[in-house]
């Protein structure tokens, strides 16, 4: 097999390698990357900076992927030389590696304008994950950031830094923001939108120097104005990394010159991505990388024939709430321009048509229609009949109509190059029902993400069991879907409800979002968050269940339903001493003391000397058991001991909704384990662990999670599911809805059948939470606040 060396572990290099792997194996592949990470989606760095995604979320190919495909990955090694005659590359670690075929995917670097003081501590380019992490680390309220460059990247960096709390100023040399993509009118509306977000923009200004002793202190402009700054981001453009191409003796102009077959001037050396120049054009966008990669893969594997003829440039600003889209050549000589402006709504459209075909388009304020224009540009559609109706989509009877009208050959995902036909095939032939399945199956919507809603529309229209995995938002106060919000809280390290409300919500909150956020923070930080009792329902402020008359009910924990004479005597004493109006055996083998005054709660708990049964909260309720092998003549497993142990392990933890459990000693199922959130069912020689059962508002038979031999294995399987549910369910989503939504197959794959590292991660986070969890009733003796239980004494 020949040896293929790939220099560059970025999106272009790996997208091309993915394509090469589709052909019969021909190469032993070695990949060099100068960053220390696996391959990630660079386009999404601005989403990481804005706190919308965590670094882990933008990984494209995991280490397992490299391993599975036999790729030798060398991260943290920069290739500094190519010897085209000896056919070797030299790394900055001194290593020399021989190749038969070399693929240069070296990408581009930030262009550094001639400004004094670029070496000061606090000056960044915004190109890598490390840059992004360092920017996040150094950002915060009180910090002032200056972004030099008002192009796509500069504006996204500015918004990201602002989301991190910084006060941000953008300094742009030109008179129009994003002047390569927008005309004056479009730029003016974009300027207004940025200013509305609270970002200061200085146009037509050049930067003279970055000043400070060792760290950045201020930025001086050519006209004498001085801006205070703790951070400076340079986003003045990119320049192709062509140094290795030069050293290899290739023909290099602005980029490494390639022909339509993606061949360079040396038959053993290929190049792809932002480092190449094709028909005089260097691209800095994601879609061309994929198109080039496909052609290159064919050529390099001996299937020369496919040609790359260039890509229609298209750019989209990824700032939530600021829609900007620009594609094609909207300023072509001889073209007719159709313009529309609605200054009230901040919407601007410019459609340029030449010889009856679309030449270019600008959309500001509303880019929902971008796909239609992109398709016209790609296909060169004849718009003769459409004339006069180019600014707005045809009125559609319902949401599905638009996608229905698209031809099968139309491209849905421009980045990866997936057609409508391919998506429909995936839905029909491979049973795709959700967006995440579609991504896994076709890779559609994994690039810039702009086709996500179109993919959703297609799924909605075609998939028989479409499930919207973009879940609904928690409430109007914090307008984010819960999974998204969890990502944000995690990546932003937010630890208090009020903080979340102030940064991502309306600053106020309500009885819906406050308890949900409280739970999320407790779960995410394994109990190490800033507990805010004002954000909890009254039951969780005083650890008892409020009744219709304002009194409370008290349910002590009786693990597994197994009690003793002494315990029962104490309960009876409490009932008499506090004149408890009702003592009731509950449906789950426990005892409920109803009608207790708030002020008496601490005394009642102390007299009982039993832990909280968490009957008042979204938490771990009880484990109902049968007597199992201890007394029952049919029992095959010690269900009481297993049940009590399960209750001990999970008790005092909070969950998205209540978690009821049961352990039974044989399939006769006396304690009804098959309709519990988690059930252990004893069988001859082992246990079945079942999850997602219900016998309340809905009735649902639990699904089998796994069958194991020992009690310890059963408890571990239960713990895996328990933590998985805690981390992935929406607040107030019972396990029976959760398991149904996710699908038991996926639940199994993510828990009991997950790789060891994943299982260990779940168990580790569960253990951390458990280690911090306390019996809430201990607060009776040491209240969090003097008037948590005690009445307020009126001074008079």
């Amino acid at each position: 097999m020949k040896k293929l060396v790939v220099v560059g572990n970025g999106m272009a290099g790996m997208a091309c390698v993915e394509q090469i792997l589709k052909y019969e194996p021909r190469f032993r592949i070695t990949v060099f990357g100068d960053e220390t990470h696996v391959n990630y989606n660079r386009v999404m760095l601005s989403s990481v900076l804005a706190g919308e995604k965590a670094a882990d979320d933008i990984i494209i190919n995991s280490r397992e992927w490299y391993g599975r495909n036999g790729i030798d990955l060398r991260v943290g090694v920069r290739i500094v030389d190519v010897d085209a005659r000896a056919k070797t590359v030299t790394g900055d670690d001194g290593s020399v590696t021989a190749y038969d075929t070399l693929l240069l995917a070296t990408g581009s670097s930030a262009w550094m304008p001639p400004i004094e003081g670029l070496d000061k501590d606090g000056v960044f380019a915004f190109r890598t994950l490390d840059d992004t992490r360092e920017l996040i680390r150094r950002s915060g309220p009180e910090k002032k950031a200056v972004v030099i460059g008002g192009g796509l990247l500069g504006l996204e960096a500015a918004r990201g830094l602002q989301m991190q709390g910084c006060t941000v100023t953008v300094v742009h040399l030109m008179a129009t923001l994003m002047e390569r993509q927008l005309d004056k009118d479009g730029g003016r509306l974009l300027l207004q939108a940025m200013e509305r977000l609270g970002i200061r923009v200085l146009l037509g200004r050049s930067t003279r120097a970055i000043c400070g002793r060792t760290r950045v202190e201020r930025v001086e402009l050519a006209d004498g104005e001085s801006l205070e700054a703790d951070l400076v981001v340079i986003a003045a453009g990119i320049r192709p990394n062509v140094e290795l191409g030069r050293r290899a003796g290739l023909v290099v102009k602005r980029g490494i010159v390639v022909n339509d077959f993606m061949e360079t001037s040396n038959p053993d050396i290929f190049a792809v991505g932002e480092c190449v120049e094709h028909r005089g054009v260097c691209y800095g966008l994601v879609a061309p990388l994929y198109e080039q990669g496909k052609v290159l893969a064919a050529t390099i594997t001996g299937h020369r024939g496919a040609v790359y003829t260039g890509t229609v440039p298209a750019a989209r600003l990824k700032i939530m709430g600021v829609d900007v889209f620009s594609a094609g050549d909207w300023d072509q000589a001889g073209a007719d321009h159709i313009k529309y402006e609605d200054s009230g709504r901040g919407v601007y459209k410019r459609v340029s048509v030449k010889d009856g075909r679309l030449a270019g388009v600008i959309l500001v304020g509303d880019a929902s229609d971008s796909h239609r224009y992109m398709d016209w540009l790609r296909t060169g559609a004849d718009l003769g009949e459409m004339h006069g109706r180019l600014l707005f989509p045809p009125p559609s009877a319902d949401a599905g109509l638009d996608v229905a009208e698209m031809p099968d050959s139309a491209t849905v995902c421009g980045c990866v190059g997936v057609t409508k036909g391919a998506i429909i095939a995936a839905i029909h032939e491979r049973g795709v029902n959700t967006l995440s399945q579609l991504k896994e199956c076709t890779r559609a919507s994994t690039g810039c993400g702009s086709c996500t809603s179109l993919c959703q529309d297609l799924l909605r229209a075609v998939a028989p069991d479409f499930e919207d995995d973009a879940k609904k938002v928690i409430c109007a106060c914090v307008p984010f879907a819960e999974d998204r919000l969890r990502e944000i809280l995690r990546s932003q390290k937010l630890k208090s409800v009020q903080e979340v409300l102030e940064i991502y919500g309306n600053g106020i909150g309500c009885e819906v979002c406050k308890p949900a956020l409280s739970y999320m923070l407790d779960m995410l930080w394994c109990g190490d968050h800033e507990e805010d009792r004002s954000a909890r329902f009254i039951n969780d402020r005083v650890h008892a269940n409020i009744q219709k008359d304002g009194t409370f009910s008290v349910v002590p924990r009786i693990r597994g339903g197994v009690t003793s004479a002494a315990e029962l005597r104490r309960i009876a004493d409490v009932a008499e001493k506090y004149r408890v109006p009702m003592v009731k055996i509950t449906g789950s083998q426990r005892i409920d003391l109803l009608g207790i005054r708030k002020a008496d709660l601490p005394k009642v708990w102390a007299d009982l000397g039993m832990p909280s049964g968490q009957a008042y909260t979204k938490g771990v309720r009880m484990v109902k058991t049968c007597v199992g092998t201890e007394f029952c003549r049919f029992g095959t497993q010690d269900s009481t001991a297993a049940g009590i142990e399960m209750e001990r392990r999970f008790e005092h933890l909070y969950t998205p909704h209540k978690v009821k459990m049961a352990a039974v000693g044989c399939p006769r199922n006396c304690a009804e384990a098959t309709v519990k959130d988690i059930g252990l069912i004893g069988i001859e020689g082992g246990w079945q662990v079942v999850v997602g059962g219900a016998a309340g508002k809905s009735v649902r038979k639990a699904d089998l999670l796994t069958t194991v031999e020992t009690t310890e294995q059963a408890l571990e399987a239960a713990a895996l599911f328990f933590q998985y549910y805690r981390e992935n369910a929406n607040y107030l989503e019972r396990t029976y809805d959760f398991v149904e939504r996710i699908g038991i197959e996926k639940v199994r794959k993510d828990t009991v059948y997950a790789p060891e590292a994943v299982r260990e991660g779940l168990l580790d986070r569960y253990r951390k939470s458990k280690a911090r969890a306390r019996d809430a009733w201990q607060e009776g003796q040491s209240p969090r606040h003097p008037t948590q239980f005690a009445p307020v004494e009126v001074l008079g």
């Binding site: 819906v512 304002g550 789950s588 003097p786 009445p791 307020v792 009126v794 001074l795």
Partner: protein, 158 residues
């Protein structure tokens, strides 16, 4: 107007309420928290009874300048006592009382006419959620009329 010194402001945590008995009325005092520029805690006082089914408003979750009753999630404005949810509710709201803070102590203003004795003739100084009062309340028939329950927080299972 008679001003009663109730308690030190610290006894009512941010964005929470506490019930006190003043002249036979059970009143809920809330600390809405401080906001720039004045950065002084803002207190408000209303009758501690939801107009729906007499739920203890002091135990509700504060949402801005409103409170959500813990029993059936009716939402009451703490500024004017109006029922904000269910919307279109035409019934009476809750009574509000003036509040001021002196040297950190919260004072509630009661109308002179009401400065009489409590309903059981007790000297109602120090009794929060007085037991007899609660017993009393329990024995009364539930409030007739619309039982609009908008709560998602039903937790009455053992």
């Amino acid at each position: 107007m008679r001003w009663i010194r109730v308690t030190h402001g610290d006894n009512i945590p941010w964005r929470e309420g506490r019930a006190v008995s003043l002249d036979g009325r059970e009143i809920a005092i809330f600390n809405l928290g401080s906001a720039p520029p004045d950065a002084v805690d803002r207190f408000v006082a209303v009758d501690n009874q939801c107009p729906h089914k007499r739920g203890p408003l002091a135990d509700g979750i504060v949402a801005g300048a409103s409170v959500v009753c813990p029993l059936h999630a009716w939402k009451i404005s703490l500024v004017d006592g109006r029922v904000e949810r269910p919307s279109g509710s035409s019934g009476p709201g809750v009574r509000t009382y003036p509040v001021r803070v002196e040297d950190g102590v919260v004072l509630v203003g009661l109308p002179e006419a009401a400065a009489a004795v409590g309903k059981d003739g007790m000297n109602l100084q120090n009794c929060l959620s007085d037991y007899a009062f609660l017993q009393d309340r329990r024995l009364e028939p539930p409030c007739p009329g619309a039982g609009a329950c908008v709560s998602s927080n039903a937790d009455n299972s053992g």
